[in-house]
């Protein structure tokens, strides 16, 4: 499964949104309706799924689906 698909799956699972809503441009807050704790839980979900720790400063920058994918790719996570 591609990195994009794994990230999308986690987002669908945590936020209960429809697959077609999870575009690479989608913002977690305005487009996907995630409040600040939802976003914290999402970060936790990515950490668990990809076996890494994302510090608070980095997490604050991960505002869109695409930015998460890009960040995880840079971290060279297991796919």
């Amino acid at each position: 499964m591609s990195l994009e698909n794994r990230v999308t799956e986690i987002i669908i699972d945590k936020l209960g949104v429809k697959p077609e809503q999870v575009t690479m441009e989608a913002h977690f807050d305005t487009d996907l309706g995630a409040d600040s704790i939802d976003q914290y839980e999402l970060i936790m979900g990515f950490e668990d799924a990809f076996g890494l720790r994302i510090d608070e400063d980095e997490a604050a920058k991960l505002t869109t689906v695409g930015k998460v994918v890009e960040y995880l790719r840079e971290q060279d996570v297991d796919q």
Binding site: I37, Y40, E41, M44, D48
Partner: protein
């Protein structure tokens, strides 16, 4: 073994009574305290359901390591009781910044660090209950306890705020405000303060640690599943 709860200040006084009660109720208890000898004694009394974790709650690093250690060795934590507390009494004019800072560090910052460390697991499992041990002096004030009373009032703000932050995640946060309870700590209070308090208690007696423990047991368990963000006085009517 039952569900796991973490209790700070578990080695003696109210914290020991809370640990005792939770073990009786079927919880497993990870008891944290800086008093290692007292912690060993508690462990000997309470048996396998109680595990001793030496911890200074004012250390961010130590709290983080202990949280990771408890979760990896004992499993997910469903209950947290922030009970660790100290006094450094003195009239305001004579209160040093060291005495102010130390009481804030243990009573307030320690509880913040514990809540932050253990809420992560609770968020993951979408279940948890946190009880912060405040005090009637948060509501009444007490001459000579500017530092202590401020931290105990601060715990009520922490309690109500976390209750709102976590309400949608099935994590409840409540506080208990014990009155004049017979413990090692209240025995250190100035005689004048003791007499003043005792004479104002409508039930006309000092409270026992077990009475506080019973309220903690209620707030930690499922019987209080529709209660969050509240403070329960256990004070013989002192604040009524």
């Amino acid at each position: 073994m039952g569900r796991l709860a973490v209790v700070t200040g578990a080695a003696r006084g109210i914290g020991l009574a809370i640990s005792r009660r939770l073990v009786e109720d079927g919880w497993s208890v990870a008891g944290c305290d800086v008093l290692e000898q007292d912690l060993e004694r508690a462990s000997a009394e309470l048996g396998d359901a109680f595990s001793p974790w030496p911890l200074d709650v004012t250390s961010e690093a130590a709290v983080g390591e202990t949280a990771a250690g408890i979760e990896s060795r004992l499993g997910p934590v469903f209950g947290l009781v922030n009970n660790a507390g100290i006094t450094r009494d003195g009239l305001l004019m004579r209160m040093s910044i060291e005495d102010w800072d130390r009481v804030v560090a243990v009573n307030l910052t320690g509880s913040f660090l514990m809540c932050r460390a253990f809420s992560r697991g609770m968020l993951r499992q979408k279940e948890g209950s946190i009880v912060n041990i405040s005090s009637v002096v948060a509501l009444l004030g007490a001459a000579g306890q500017a530092n202590y009373a401020s931290t105990k009032a601060g715990l009520l703000g922490l309690t109500r705020t976390l209750a709102r932050e976590f309400a949608g995640r099935n994590i409840r946060v409540n506080a208990i405000a014990p009155g004049f309870i017979e413990t090692e700590m209240t025995r250190e209070l100035p005689e004048k303060v003791r007499e003043d308090y005792a004479s104002r208690v409508p039930l006309n007696r000092m409270g026992q640690p077990a009475s506080v423990a019973a309220a903690v047991s209620f707030l930690l368990g499922d019987d209080s599943s529709y209660i969050t963000g509240t403070v329960i006085p256990v004070d013989g009517g002192l604040t009524t």
